[in-house]
Symmetry: C2
Subunit: 291 residues, 2 copies
């Protein structure tokens, strides 16, 4: 990277939906790469028309040839396939000193896939998780400012080269994010608790409201509370099914903690036990007010 | 009511926290009452200093003497006590043609209390539920614009006089709200589903996140999703315990519907059954996207 001019010669963004498209747009808007190339059979053309990328190509080889920055931004399962594809490329396809990062919401499985597939490229891979997004998806929802002040967690593997980690960290910071580092196992346990299972809760609550005879009245008369509580329940079911399955054990542990709290509330309510109900609700209120 | 000048001679707002204080402020800001008097041992002085009311008094009699509008805006249990107090006042304390309304989140119990307590005043009482508020509470959170475009549901009792219902409906509309009417039993079933139990879910989710060893990291790294999903979990535990207890049977029915949806997600996840998981999540997403 140089202090003047573009930091990257060629950035390959593999998947240009909400997150990948926003990375591409942010790189372009800051002139951080001489060329930003997108690969995405579904969102590619839209991303090109929206000006998120300089060009779209249709093969992995064409996308990453000569790239010094590669961002894996497909859904979890797609990223694993892309890693296999990168591992199978002829030596020298990517630029020397390439930095490879990803945007998956889970980190243990992508690291396992990288170890299995990347071979000599493994030290260039620095897993990342941008804590940004919305219940919308696709290139049309992408924005060059999505990462402004967002937190991006890096979970470098033991095999990650320090210079690759520095390059990836600097890239996320230059497109507006704050960065932190943590071990992948801790990351996945944490995000099962604060994101993956809470998404399941929002889906379940929306389903319970929307399944019954009150669905229409609920649509008409619900207030800001229910809209907020269920907001992420409007996200993509396929995307979140894959995230939950990818982080299954930790998500099920988070589910059990949640069910214990629900059961405590239900029991106190059923018993008409006001002190126990106030105490159960207070456990949540204390933490929420500390946010 | 007259088309010119204040619509009310004296509005008595019994409880000037978030909701009552906002009614008072909205009446004042639109010059809808010659005098707006508040009664509230806790928030009264703050409401006066904030200019939400013209005066605060310390007895029910002083508050409602000559009032042609009375708004019960204490928590649920407090409103029942205020109804008893109103029923015990000497005849002629309130103005002829007085309209009495309330702001409770549950409607069956307040109607039962009114039938028991109000005596000859019963036809003047028109129960209402403004679907507005926030996780904040108290006079300091009140705002003259809280009801702008908010929905206020009226649940007139069989005994409510049509002219009282019209007066109350017009009052809510003049302070910015849209209004609707429904039977109290339907109201309580609906709000158990769209509000009371969803609050319990938000409290439970915040408790599950905030109880474990990940509480600090969760505070630091959680994103907008968890903040929204748990927002109403920062509300008053005492207030919501009373609402849930007041609407216990309907809330427990809503809890059961919710638990069935959670169980379906957990089972599909535990089984690694992606089609079943996508279907379970889709049930929620379909309704949420229709909002």
């Amino acid at each position: 990277m140089s202090a003047t001019g573009p930091q990257f010669e060629r950035a390959a963004i593999l998947g240009v939906g909400l997150i990948g498209g926003s990375v591409a747009a942010a790189l372009r808007s800051r002139s951080m790469a001489r060329q930003v190339v997108g690969l995405d059979p579904r969102d590619g053309q839209a991303a090109l028309q929206l000006g998120l990328v300089d060009a779209v190509v249709t093969s992995l080889h064409d996308a990453v040839k000569g790239a010094d920055l590669v961002v894996l931004a497909a859904p979890v399962a797609g990223n694993a396939a892309l890693l296999r594809g990168l591992g199978e490329l002829p030596a020298g396809t990517l630029a020397d000193g390439v930095a490879i990062t990803d945007v998956s919401s889970t980190k243990c499985s992508i690291i396992a896939a990288a170890r299995e597939s990347l071979g000599l490229l493994l030290p260039r891979f620095v897993p990342a998780h941008p804590i940004a997004g919305s219940e919308r998806s696709g290139a049309a929802a992408a924005s060059a400012t999505l990462f402004d002040n967002a937190m991006v967690l890096l979970c470098p593997d033991e095999a990650s080269a320090p210079d690759a980690t520095d390059t990836v960290e600097a890239m996320w910071q230059m497109i507006g994010a704050r960065t932190g580092r943590m071990a992948a196992a801790h990351h996945d346990e944490l995000f099962a608790t604060v994101s993956h299972w809470p998404h399941a809760v929002a889906f379940a609550l929306a389903a319970a409201v929307g399944q019954g005879p009150l669905a229409d009245d609920a649509r008409r008369y619900s207030g800001a509370g229910l809209r907020d509580t269920t907001r992420v329940g409007g996200s993509s079911p396929e995307l979140w099914a894959d995230i939950l399955l990818d982080n299954r054990d930790a998500s099920l542990r988070a589910a059990r903690s949640f069910s214990q709290e629900v059961a405590a509330i239900e029991r106190a309510l059923s018993d008409g036990n006001r002190p126990a109900l106030v105490e159960a609700l207070s456990r949540g209120a204390r933490w929420r007010r500390s946010l």
